[in-house]
Symmetry: C2
């Protein structure tokens, strides 16, 4: 039996990322789960921030941002960056920052994956500021890469050990691999 839970955006699982921007000349990082893929070619990734967020200022100023993926070992500092504002705390002190092609999208060295993004579209909807960025470069810690069919790719997402969030306000680990995309349904196809 289905129960109505009301007007609640119960999407799961949610990726936990640190969005990076230059604010008032310094790197700042905001923890958020409102991030996802909007396209592959071109590679589009969005982040949604409150209009009043300190990070929002920086993205509006430079039209660049980064998306950084912490590991579960970084859970405390990641959660912390979602509790405190860059207006009160210098978050640049919490991480080692590095820069790529855009120069105004600070990235976190400790995160195994970083996406450097240039804003291609932005708008406000209610009190949210949505930034859609084109990924100009993806950075991955070398130890997580393997050669697959002549291309470099990610070995296994479990090794990247991401922090997963859900709207029950809990963080989770990733579990084991259970299948391949565009493959599992083929058996089904033959029975139709």
């Amino acid at each position: 039996m289905k129960v109505k839970l009301g007007t609640f955006p119960l999407v799961y699982p949610i990726p936990i990322v640190l969005a990076g921007a230059m604010v008032a000349g310094k790197p700042n990082y905001a923890t958020l789960g409102d991030c996802g893929v909007m396209g592959i070619k071109p590679p589009l990734v969005y982040v949604s921030l409150n209009e009043t967020h300190y990070t929002t200022q920086g993205i509006l100023e430079h039209s660049t941002y980064s998306v950084n993926f912490p590991t579960t070992e970084m859970l405390a500092v990641t959660d912390y960056c979602g509790i405190v504002s860059g207006r009160d705390i210098d978050k640049a002190m919490l991480f080692e920052s590095f820069y790529g092609e855009l120069e105004t999208a600070p990235m976190i060295a400790q995160c195994p994956v970083n996406l450097e993004c240039r804003v291609v579209k932005e708008f406000t909807i209610q009190h949210r500021h949505i930034f859609i960025g084109e990924v100009v470069q993806a950075y991955v810690e070398a130890t997580y890469l393997i050669e697959k069919e002549g291309q470099r790719g990610i070995a296994d997402m479990t090794q990247l050990d991401p922090i997963i969030y859900a709207l029950d306000n809990r963080y989770y680990r990733i579990g084991e691999a259970i299948g391949m995309g565009y493959q599992e349904g083929k058996i089904f196809k033959h029975t139709m």
Copy 2:
């Protein structure tokens, strides 16, 4: 050492959902991972589809859609709905559909969670059609709900057993809970 992987939208983990719409008078369901939260109050959820997708037609016609969350037991049929088009296969036959307040957003009874959405903003960006919907109702299978602090909520996301995807083209299970949102960072706070 960080390695450049090129212009790749390496967001992870990705939620695997079945987006539902009425197309040519029948329910149709498309598997996608380009879905996420854009806001809580109001509750905003987006889906990104190719302009040519059969489902896109239906959402454009009715300005309504649903987001349905399959379990790992539904992996084969879910993957299948990402391989075949509703133009060729009657996907309504694969599931039991039900309707809520909007009447034109078919939902999948077998999925433990369904979001019924009304489009509040839509745009195209390159070859993608992005629909941002306000959740008018969230439906949850009663067995997954508990009373928490006088409010009904989700017991534990591991019970919902979602299908997780990553851009290594693998599906994963969810792992165990590792902490609480806005709590884990408090220890960190006191050390600053």
